[in-house]
Symmetry: C2
Subunit: 205 residues, 2 copies
């Protein structure tokens, strides 16, 4: 089993490998990966070792096979069907964002309870009524839900999502969800804190 902090770094390595592959690079080394990502060389070698990947001395790692291996380890070598629950500002911005499909996350449908939103379409994806959730999950074989409803209804809607058979939630709301499946919380304030730290250091130079 791969430890969670390693999983977070594998995502970073994947981005970097995709970036250098797009520039035509076919081999890389743990030290060049480490330098671009702000981690240590030892950390990169240890993480890739978890996947049974060891670089060849003097040559390093082949970009394409390594990319494939990391995608496999992160279960990205398959596609994931996603539902947006709450087609408001955040929900509709995600429906219109094309980059997720490229990574194997297909937003197949959205649901909402507001009659003025139900029946509309964003970037080809339709908004249905929340009451259809169980049948939509079966029909589209939905794996994951993005929760983008107001804070005060979040827990109740999360329970409906689990009852409908969904196994994971990407939670945009500030509510802490108590559900028996994995939840990944989106917390933009940590990014603002990082930025504030970097700007303070930048100004002190």
């Amino acid at each position: 089993d791969i430890p969670r902090p390693t999983v977070r770094r594998l995502s970073l390595y994947l981005r970097e490998l995709e970036r250098i592959a797009a520039q035509g690079t076919t081999t890389t080394s743990s030290s060049s990966m480490a330098q671009s990502l702000g981690v240590t060389d030892v950390q990169v070698r240890r993480d890739l070792g978890c996947l049974g990947q060891t670089g060849k001395p003097g040559v390093g790692y082949q970009v394409a096979p390594l990319t494939h291996r990391i995608r496999e380890a992160l279960s990205l070598n398959r596609s994931w069907n996603v539902i947006i629950v709450g087609a408001g500002r955040i929900g509709r911005a995600l429906m219109a964002y094309p980059s997720f499909a490229g990574l194997g996350f297909k937003i197949v449908v959205a649901v909402d309870c507001d009659a003025s939103v139900v029946g509309t379409t964003v970037a080809g994806t339709e908004v249905k009524h929340l009451d259809n959730l169980p049948s939509l999950v079966r029909e589209h074989e939905i794996d994951l839900a993005v929760l983008a409803v107001p804070h005060d209804v979040a827990q109740g809607i999360a329970e409906q999502i689990i009852d409908a058979g969904i196994d994971g939630i990407l939670n945009f709301t500030p509510a802490t969800l108590h559900v028996p499946v994995p939840v990944e919380r989106i917390d933009l304030s940590r990014s603002l804190e990082q930025l504030a730290f970097e700007v303070a250091a930048f100004r002190n130079q």
Copy 2:
């Protein structure tokens, strides 16, 4: 100078300290922090050591002074004035989100170039025209900008932001910005990758 990965963890520790303080806890230990956050005990002690904080054997750390010290280290013991550039779906969702102000990030104004959006107000914050950017930055002493414009205009608008005197950008667009100030990129696909990994592991149990 604090290394970047340590800064990322300090944000995590801050969240955890705020969470336990809200429950009335006044002392904590590196091992209990480590357990809640999925890092090692040694890592917590090393990170807090960077701030000159060492726990007392048998007692651990005092929650309030430690929180204050981390906020100081992350330059959060002051307030930061933020401008939203691009008052579309993402921009307006951030304008309506109250949690940032609690952490010292005050969204003071937004700008856009669409005449139908300029002059509107979201949660008390007004949308002005992009042409006013330089005078707004001076008037409100703006430190940071959130970039939420379409991909194809991102670099050009980022240059206007820097020219107006702003020292840091929170970038929602998929464009890689080439500017001489700190940029923090929002990449929601990494969160989806984490969730996919957790759900695959959850299903294999």
